[in-house]
Symmetry: C3
Subunit: 455 residues, 3 copies
């Protein structure tokens, strides 16, 4: 049996075994949520089903994951099939696995009940994996990617549970849980997988129309980001998330063009910046998107994100690669990593200054841990005036801010540790890792038409 | 008058005559539905208008028809204009004609009232025609396509009326009415239009970037398919349709990659599979999307669809072409035909095992024909407990399953018969049928820029 | 300091100064609307937030602005980066500036409150600027474009205020305020910027795949146009806007193909027509989209728009360029200008024949100026029967029609005057205006990959 014979046996087997496993586990554990279960139907159509309320934003997120991330990565001249194709494969795999993993961590009575919000959460999980994919783009086999995705989701779900359930951090747009996590997990993997020939490849560039394909991804990500940050927020929180993200992104786009032009000797604009740094404002506003950051505050965050991201692409990425041996194909550190940290800091600041003066009683809905403890007189008084308040931990503003920062710390720690472990797993010899001329090239893993394939 | 002079006279005349006819018929028969008619407005904005509830999913379906099908077919290296352009023309033509034909078959008091659900149904009709277009892609003139679309919609509406109104079959995603119908209608046309030189053309291939354009279509179809299957379902049925379709497609994508790699000697993945077979799960779950197939059941259907579809592309399509003289340009048999039959069978099985244990009283809403007959005591008792039950035919589960299979049979029969008749109509000599070097080539029907046009 | 050193200093400075100005002005004047303000939250989640009701259509409009206009303009073989990139930059800049300008004109108590409808209005403003951009595409520097956008929004907001607030014209799809305004503003600028070498450039053409990229824009514009025309309409008006736009566009597409084929000696179809004239039906139905124009009326408007637009591209655009020295790169006169005028006329006719026979009491909601004056007995009687009627000006149908036409006149006047003034501002020498070989070419303003860049 030749090498490539083995390749197909391995990839096919791993995928089929995983898919069979998923079906069995779904059969044992997963059922429809009450809102989607015919036997729970009351025949009363005046109570609207939750699918109506979440579905439009779910679809926007769905487009970001499959079109947005997929096309964003097609900028490489000889890796368009891999970018779109593996993006597709990994996402389809991860959404199933995330539903199971998240379900196991939050199971009630041994059953995982799924509804439209599970699909949003599953897509978010795919987002984290795709960000990591961006860091190793062109340098891994599909087999390695599948294994990476499998382990990453375990770390991802555990980290999110610590942050949300134990630390009760707020992070409506997942800037810590998804973006910072996915970026630093991926960078850790990239560090472990680093090899000399990656730096030497002459295929890591774009052609004119591959940059246009990439813009499809950029623009869909940019447009639908308000949905990403607002999908799971209720009422006026969602409204705010949408406005803040819209404004942060608008400012971020303008400043990206400004800085990009300034960084070129001839004042020309760089497509890499336009494709990526324009989106940093969406990440950077994520944690505070539903908070009272005010319109100007959102724009300031977007402006800062553009600065960090554009400068990162120009100065930090080359340095990371040559000095730290971290080769970051898509520059996820600039688009998701550093802006994710910025988001966490902005969120902590907003948490530190949050008060009922600013939020009214909805303070205790936005920061549930700040709500008074169970059975306290204060809780009863508040509930009489504002029905949606639930018992909390009686945290102060400063404490909440501390937990926000602690969540960032834990996220970075788990991401780097998980990524490093996973990276070493991917070094197992039989995983068809591309090398030399196979790097950044579709030829090894795809049946490629000869025509139109840039030499 | 030369040949091409005639071409323009013919195409222009046919289109203008049809459009004029549509306007006249709309003028006589069509008016706004009550929900869209100013004179029916009550000035009470608290009752939500139906446009709010249907419009987001309508737009998703709309994107599938115009972007999804359109770009999916741009994979041919010299037929991108025809794929996008004729997809656009046919759809715009068909939506008007479908509204009229469906209206004529369901007219009340001589008026056809249209609203947002008419637009969804019209887009569904366009879907059937576009599937047939896929079977004959590159082998027909626009004139032939317009004539094909005109007749296909007549057969399509009649078939749907038989299945829905007489047989009372359920098929929420239209896997029988749209997908199986469109595929076998198109294949029958392709059989009649078969000629030796189709097999000999060297233009029936892709170039690297035409495969990426095609992926735009694939991904939009894949993402929005839950809307296609759920658009017309109410409440929890819609929620289920969305979940089942999402899961079926996710499993289908993973298994497509697994099988595609296994089918290549070097273990490489085939873009044709990724572009098409990944979508078979959306078709195959269509009939049972709103039924209680359970999450694992949906994933099993998606897995089966991927198997059938991928193997179909590799083994059946070449065979059909050489042995049966059915040349299927886009492989619609693998993406819509066989998965449509699978959907029908899955639907019949689900119907056969449906009971109030599984569905509660909503059983009679999901399968209206199983509801007790008018004026029966049982009906009154049920209605007292579940307001939305209407009188039915008192069918048993087995009977319903039988009618589901009968609907498949009738659909296949009408599709093949209608397609054959239409195919012979298209053989009329003066319809500018492309031949030889004109096959799979935009040059005859489009003003093509010389640059960038692959030789 | 060399020329290009200056370039980057200028573009960067202007963008950063503008962005800083926006942040300061937002800080002083702008706050969340009540529906998005946490301190106004009542904790009662049963009253739905307005974001739910407007957001899906907002996103459709958003896609039209950023994907639709952006990709539509990528047809030029060497100007894809500029088309997508400057479309992106201008839109991101304009949405912030439009919120401020419109806010200043409608301020209450010194505060501008923003919500999801502000975002729709901001995107509409971007639409007007992008239409003007289409007229000057490839012939201006980013610096010139930014300055043009800045001034255009001032004229745009003033014109809209005159039409809506003073003339109380109806124009739900903005065919006058956005399309006609944007087109004639842009054409006036193009007239002032005309130079001999524009006519002589051999780069003003497409390549095969740039025409396909352009179709991404066309199709997204075409599909989502019903949302553009219906986004801000309430209840049944919105439902009607959606149906009318859908039908107008369908007819427009069919007729465009018919005429396009007739205009070519060989009966071939022209991509320029398919990319642009198919959309004219969306513009032409804009003013009367929510009026009782009836389905056949909408289709007639779409048919007329296709005729005007297709003939305009073939006969008028070349003439304008050679005789009137108005070089219109994207043919915005054919897609937005003349169809916008057609829309205004259709709207005036519909206004002239509007009566309570056709609209019931919602007549006074659709045409608020026709409502009886404050404190009149008639108003009280009407309000008793139809709660949403507010006091108006007691206009007759004829008067309303007159004001509709007056609004068109004022719009054309302000657009042409504003465009001319702005055009002369853009002639200031230091604005890096492209000339000769730099026209229709990305090379001057973008870092362009050498590979795949059409010579």
């Amino acid at each position: 049996m030749g090498d490539s014979q083995l390749t197909r046996v391995k990839l096919t087997s791993v995928l089929l075994v995983l898919q069979a496993l998923f079906i069995v586990l779904f059969g044992i554990f997963v059922d429809y949520g009450d809102d989607a279960n015919a036997v729970m139907s009351t025949g009363n159509e005046t109570t609207p089903n939750s699918v109506k309320s979440y579905y439009p934003m779910f679809q926007d997120v769905h487009v970001m994951i499959f079109v947005g991330f997929g096309f964003l990565m097609t900028f490489l001249k000889r890796y368009g099939f891999g970018s779109m194709g593996f993006n597709f494969l990994l996402s389809a795999l991860v959404v199933q696995w995330q539903i199971l993993m998240a379900g196991f961590l939050h199971m009630e009575h041994g059953k995982i009940k799924i509804d439209v919000t599970s699909m949003i959460a599953a897509d978010f999980g795919a987002g984290a994996v795709l960000i990591s994919f961006g860091a190793v783009l062109g340098k891994t086999s599909p087999l390695q990617l599948v294994i990476m995705a499998f382990f990453e989701i375990i770390f991802y779900c555990v980290n999110e549970m610590i942050g949300l359930t134990y630390f009760k951090a707020v992070d409506i747009g997942g800037s810590m849980f998804i973006h910072a996590f996915g970026a630093y997990f991926g960078l850790a993997v990239a560090r472990v997988l680093w090899r000399e020939d990656i730096e030497e490849s002459d295929k890591e560039g774009s052609v004119y129309h591959s940059d246009l394909f990439s813009m499809i991804g950029t623009i869909f990500l940019w447009m639908y980001w308000p949905s990403f940050n607002g999908a799971l927020a209720p009422g006026d929180d969602q409204h705010r998330a949408v406005i803040n993200t819209y404004l942060s992104l608008a400012a971020c786009c303008v400043v990206t063009f400004a800085i990009s032009s300034a960084l070129d000797a001839k004042g020309r604009i760089n497509m890499v910046h336009v494709q990526n740094a324009t989106l940093a404002g969406g990440v950077a506003i994520g944690t505070s998107a539903d908070l009272m950051i005010r319109p100007w505050g959102a724009m300031l965050v977007g402006t800062s994100a553009a600065l960090i991201s554009t400068l990162g692409f120009t100065y930090l990425t080359p340095l990371l690669s040559t000095k730290a041996k971290v080769h970051d194909t898509c520059g996820v550190n600039n688009l998701h990593g550093m802006p994710g940290i910025l988001a966490a800091i902005a969120g902590a600041i907003l948490a530190a200054i949050a008060s009922t003066d600013i939020y009214g009683l909805s303070l205790y809905q936005v920061f549930p841990a700040r709500s008074p403890v169970e059975n306290s007189t204060m809780l009863q008084e508040l509930q009489a005036r504002f029905s949606e308040i639930e018992a909390g931990l009686g945290r102060t503003a400063g404490e909440q801010a501390g937990y926000q920062m602690a969540t960032l710390g834990v996220t970075l720690g788990i991401a780097l540790l998980g990524g490093t472990i996973t990276g070493f797993l991917l070094l197992i010899p039989c995983l068809d890792r591309p090398e030399g001329d196979q790097l950044f090239d579709d030829e090894k893993f795809w049946e490629v038409p000869e025509e139109g394939f840039q030499k």
